[in-house]
């Protein structure tokens, strides 16, 4: 049996008056590919930020690979968990190779990182990773000159170099057009499978969730609405999940 990668127990988070998450509990096995869906404001991003240790939960326990998440040092945690977001995550003024090799910083000392800034170290790692996402010819390009889809692929290469066990993807394709979005998601899932990693992604497009993921966790108003294998999720459940809030949005817009 696969080991338990993530274990949430009674996680609660409150922002002033609004409850972002209330007593959320679930478990993720190694190798699972999970899509977190739900209407905006359901708590998807809060959940991901808690998993990434960016946000501290008010209550509850979070275990990553059998250890309380807060026990890890920053560097240890980077070996366990990697994060990819919608955009703006790269340093645009640096060449692509530095943004990719940033995935190695957790293993490099200060001297080696300085040296690498002048003369890229472990260059083959970056070139290999970029080749796997189809950006082999952009190694020394200034990152800001790349298109949105290409920048997301650079972010993927950073994860390839970082090699965490669990990847958290926060709306990884929301800023891209549908063709690009399919591209990036297919690539993300393929790489996760090749590296035998675990993936948790928040998505706002249900279609992507059903195509690329094997388990769907739906949140509504900070609560677990359903947690099912992707193949068992029915259209009716989905329309119910989005129904109320979309109706409200419609009313607000007209």
């Amino acid at each position: 049996m696969a080991k338990v990668m993530v274990k949430l127990d009674g996680i609660r988070k409150q922002y002033g008056e609004t409850t972002a998450l209330s007593s959320l509990s679930f478990q993720v096995d190694q190798g699972e590919k999970i899509a977190v869906i739900g209407p905006s404001g359901a708590g998807k991003t809060t959940l991901l930020n808690i998993l990434a240790r960016i946000v501290e939960p008010d209550e509850g326990r979070l275990e990553i690979d059998d250890q309380p998440a807060h026990r890890y040092t920053g560097r240890q945690f980077a070996h366990k968990v990697g994060v990819i977001r919608q955009q703006f995550d790269l340093v645009g003024s640096l060449p692509v190779i530095h943004n990719v090799l940033a995935g190695r910083l957790k293993d490099w000392g200060f001297f080696k990182s300085c040296l690498s800034f002048l003369w890229p170290q472990e260059r083959h790692l970056a070139v290999e990773a970029l080749a796997r996402v189809g950006l082999k010819d952009k190694v020394y390009e200034k990152t800001a000159h790349l298109s949105g889809g290409e920048q997301q692929r650079v972010a993927l290469s950073r994860l390839l170099v970082q090699r965490p066990e669990l990847i958290l993807a926060d709306e990884p394709v929301s800023a891209l057009d549908p063709a690009r979005a399919h591209d990036i998601l297919a690539m993300l899932v393929k790489l996760v499978e090749e590296e035998q990693q675990t993936l948790i992604a928040t998505l706002h497009t249900v279609e992507y969730a059903k195509t690329y993921f094997d388990r769907i966790i739906a949140l509504r108003d900070g609560r677990l609405y359903f947690d099912l294998p992707a193949s068992e999720v029915t259209d009716e459940q989905l329309s119910q999940l989005y129904h109320l809030s979309e109706l409200n949005q419609y009313v607000a817009a007209h």
Binding site: I54, R75, A78, D89, S93, L105, K106, Q162
Partner: protein, 263 residues
Amino acid sequence: MWPLIDFHKKNVLTGLMFLVFLSSLLYIDWGPELIHAGGGTSLWQMVKGMFTPDLSGDILLLALVASWQTLVYAVAGMTLAIIFAFGFGTLASGVLAQGSLGRSGLKTFFRGVLGFMRAIHELVWAWLFVAAFGLTPFAAVFAIAIPYGGILGRIFADMLSDVPPQPIRALQAAGASRLQLLIYGYLPLAAADMTSYTMYRFECAIRSSAIMSFVGLGGLGYQIDLSLHDLKYSEVWTFLYFLIGLVIVVDLWSQVIRKRLVA
């Protein structure tokens, strides 16, 4: 009633200030001494000098040497200033501190140091250093380096703490330490702004360097001072044109650099 007053409080204040100005006119002694009688002739000579700068070989050579000296002081002073600013500015930005308590302590201390450096004008530093070291180039260089280091350091600190947070958070998530964040995150993100501001300050340093040499340190300001004492306005203008030329050249250079950074 109160909301209406609140709404008009700017106008009320403007009106008050205007009244103060009008009443201040009552205290002026509107006699014939108000304007210096001989001033007109001097002014006319100065304007004439503007169109007839002294272009004789001696003066041009002198101006060239003086410009070079002014430029050298400015370059040396700015180089030191950049080093000071980089060190103190990075520390004052707090990006290297670990906890929030350590951060605010570090920030307060180094912001204080930078504040002290720039609170004293470069001309005052020049006088102090001339008194201490005598009329040596060191006096000029340090007189520029210290206040400019203070100004640059303050701006560097602000620029470093204002970088977009997303790339920094992403690097942190990848396991980067504080120093690694500085090299791979903060500095590249702020580099364009920092360079552009440094170039602007370099232009200011040239003007300062010229002015400072009034104290007797040599350079364009010194020559201007000498010629002014002899009432040779055409010479004054030759030196002024050289100063303007220097500033324009630096400005062009900084435009080239800025364009390259933005691209």
